[in-house]
């Protein structure tokens, strides 16, 4: 299956392990990702906070270029997913805005008719490729591994359409298809604080602490995420959270694509698993490396 791939800025930078794991698993899954040519930043939450029309216009530039290929756009980043989708919704719902976006694009020699569907990589992998196919490709089983799915906010809200905003199950089913045990916990769609980690560190750290605590108390060995910002907050800040709240979290935070890669039997190094801030624990390593014969 072929898609137009929109990586987004973080996936090429602080989330480069996400990028590497996607590149590693795509061929095995039969996923053809053709990168959108000369894409620009979606604008994220930050641009929207200072300029609205500009934010919509730069976001629409990507969609306008994508329209030439007439395929679904798929992005691995929850923030890009929300922003690009929101641009589509506003473009359809507010004629005045549509007119202005159209004029701005025209100045750059582009046009957009509003017909491109934007999807998250999780949706594409779970619903287009499907759980059965993923399970059938698995060379390793993750028996004994307890995984807490962390959805965060922007994949299921405001208008995802592929899962429930409060009780999503897409990732739960994926974890089970991979042969691991899915840990259910209340905070799976809670907010990690996102960019507040930069501006209001204390508040964001507290949100993450509660989240880690909930996952830990429910017996999770690791957390699996689908968003660069969530991963960064939970992984890179975990040490600081421990120091601040006198907790002893040692919970690796993986991307869902890394977990898929492990079951496909790919080398851990190709999946960027050596480059997590919170390193894989010994029992996890044993499951990841030893399950080869499973």
């Amino acid at each position: 299956m072929k898609y137009t791939y929109y990586p987004g800025c973080s996936v090429n930078a602080t989330a480069n392990i996400y990028r590497d794991s996607i590149a590693a698993i795509a061929p095995a899954l039969g996923l053809e990702l053709e990168e959108l040519e000369d894409w620009n930043c979606c604008g994220a939450t930050a641009y929207m906070s200072v300029k609205e029309l500009m934010s919509f216009a730069i976001s629409a530039r990507n969609l306008a270029i994508a329209e030439k290929h007439n395929r679904d756009v798929v992005t691995p980043c929850s923030a890009c997913y929300t922003v690009l989708n929101k641009t589509n919704h506003y473009f359809a719902d507010y004629p005045e805005l549509r007119r202005k976006i159209g004029q701005a694009l025209e100045a750059g020699g582009l046009s957009y008719s509003g017909n491109i569907r934007v999807r998250h990589l999780l949706d594409v992998i779970c619903n287009d490729i499907g759980y059965d196919k993923i399970a059938s490709l698995a060379k390793k089983k993750l028996a004994g591994l307890k995984v807490a799915p962390y959805y965060g906010c922007q994949i299921v809200r405001p208008d995802s359409g592929f899962d429930d905003p409060d009780e999503p199950t897409t990732m739960n089913r994926l974890i089970e298809a991979l042969g691991a045990e899915c840990v259910d916990y209340r905070m799976k769609t809670a907010c990690c604080g996102a960019s507040l980690m930069g501006t209001q560190e204390e508040l964001a750290m507290r949100l993450c602490k509660n989240l880690l605590l909930d996952a830990q108390q429910n017996g999770a060995h690791c957390i699996v995420t689908i968003c660069p910002l969530c991963q960064m907050n939970l992984d890179v800040y975990q040490g600081k959270i421990n120091a601040r709240y006198k907790t002893k979290f040692d919970i690796p935070v993986l991307y869902f694509t890394q977990l898929i890669g492990v079951t496909l039997g790919l080398p851990l190094r190709d999946l960027g698993l050596g480059r997590l801030a919170v390193k894989l624990t010994k029992p996890m390593k044993r499951i990841f490396e030893g399950a080869n014969n499973g």
Partner: protein, 191 residues
Amino acid sequence: MLDRDIVAEYKLDHDFLSEIYALPGGREIKKCIQCGTCSSSCPLSYVMDHGPRKMFSLIRAGFREEVLSSNTIWFCSSCYTCAVRCPKDIKITDVMYALKRLAVKEGKTKGKKAVVLSRNFARMVNTYGRNHETELMARYILEADLLHALKFVPQGWKLLVNRRLPLFPHRMKNMDQLKKILRKVDELGEI
């Protein structure tokens, strides 16, 4: 702090509501029934000057100053929990964005670090077409948080040793096209 005495009518800003109505989705706040679902769902309402429910009530009554200088709009993390639960389908998060922009426009942003972050983010995009996270962090720390610059060091170090902190920006190629689009938006004026 809100004046708990009865506020004289003449002190309220009656144009404020029409300004909010003019924003895309702004008119929706008319439908708010003050049920409080938003505030009770919000993970950050406990530190906000006013929760989202109260914000709408303040807007409708014309408390311009209280609304625009509140910490509420900058503590909103855009998690959309309130928006999906609102029984009246009000796009609460988007109204918060609109209030952010209005506060920026009116210069009511003293000491608001989120503004520094947003402004520098926009600058990255306008320069490279993409966000250069490393430079954004550096600029943000220099401008907003130099006193606490050290607190970012351990996290930055973790990213660096794990080869997750690129030193050079990814640039898009056709900056010329992006600039033409941005210039046109300037001409058209914000919404």
